[in-house]
Amino acid sequence: MRGQASAAQRTAETVAGPAIFGELLGDPAVRERWERVRRWFFLRESTYDMTRRCNIRCEGCYFYHGDKQNVEDCTDPEAWHTLMRAEKARGITFAVLAGAEPALVPELLRVCGEHIPLGAIATNGLRRIPEDVPYRIHISVWGNDATSERYRSAKRMLDRQCEQYADDDRAVFVYTFTRENCAESREVVEQLARRRCKVTFNVFSSPVGYSGPCRHDAASLLETRRTMLELLDAYPETVLFSAYSAVAHTHSLGLHELFGCSYPRMNPSTALGLGRSFRQYRANLAFDRGAACCVPDTDCPDCRHYAAGSAVVTARLHRHAANANTFWAWLDYVNVYLAVWVRGYEPFSPLLSEPTAPPGRGLF
């Protein structure tokens, strides 16, 4: 499926310099992909911590850095109904439910899904979320079982996650590459492929002040990139990723420096996009614009998080539309983002099989 050549792909290398947007869309294969992704431009996200409780404790966990762990949980479904009604009214169309462990409060997940039908849940995957919760479910994987036990103090993690979610079309496993777990990603992806699961990739991004063993360096980022591309090539039906996703998330520069993060925490403008509409609610239903981003308490210069990229790279359509290669890379990236986050989105075959440098930057 990967790297199927279209007429546009064959001519990609001959197109250079500022492009005419209409010409970029001149190839029917490109136009079709553009039309498919632009249908989802209406998505406007906010994120919600569902509870401060979790059934495990993981090395480098974002939730247990900073002060968001210190609030009181709001457990009143009526208060959540009120919040979700208000969120919908102010234009939010996509809910991301996270921290600490959303599966512990299924009744609140149902409330969110009732008001905002599209969304995703970040979970450790040890408890099954009821089928009537309509969201995508992202199951975090941090290595093989030995590594999981070391970092997460949970035994047989992948087996238990698969027992809960291998047959669930809502589920996407998210393998987080740390400085130490690159090699074992092969056995994990092989196991997920055998069980017909879908997997995407994340890059560990340090919480503020974290300098532990998960934090990447230049060598581990390069190794991560090579491994991602290898796995993408070997398991095209299992891995939801693109060559450009690998570049964007393993570049020596973090997402903010590469693209300019559009989340409020790094973006003072309230005029448009995420800066205008995004909120990150804590488990007590309060929010603080100054702290709002998709993974609060991440060290921004080190941020290569998959959730951040999904918004930040997508928002930079303008600069990617400067030439055919970066535009196609952008289309491939957005295709992956939608496949990972939006239940019901049918991904297309990618335009590019080789890495492309981000606009105005080198490959690494």
Partner: protein, 85 residues
């Protein structure tokens, strides 16, 4: 549409087509309506419109100018200024 110039009509036409606004025509589109607050467009919609405007008028509109482009009349004034330079 009140007091719309030909340029504003053309921009409204592109805006309606690219953002698939239902029940709107260039002639009836208010050039002073706020595209973000009142029409409900967001950054991806605006980017798409800007890319098409660049093609149509053979101008460059940098990303950091987007926040200024909040009405058809303001977009028209911006395009007009670019065409003069």
């Amino acid at each position: 549409m009140s007091n719309a110039t030909d340029l504003e009509l053309k921009i409204a036409e592109i805006l309606i087509r690219e953002t698939r606004l239902e029940d709107a025509t260039a002639e009836t589109f208010d050039p002073d309506v706020d595209l973000i607050e009142e029409v409900g467009l967001d950054s991806m919609d605006l980017t798409t419109v800007v890319l098409v405007l660049q093609d149509e008028f053979k101008i460059q509109i940098p990303e950091d100018e987007y926040p200024k482009l909040t009405t058809v009349r303001k977009i028209a004034a911006y395009v007009q200024a670019q065409l003069r330079t």
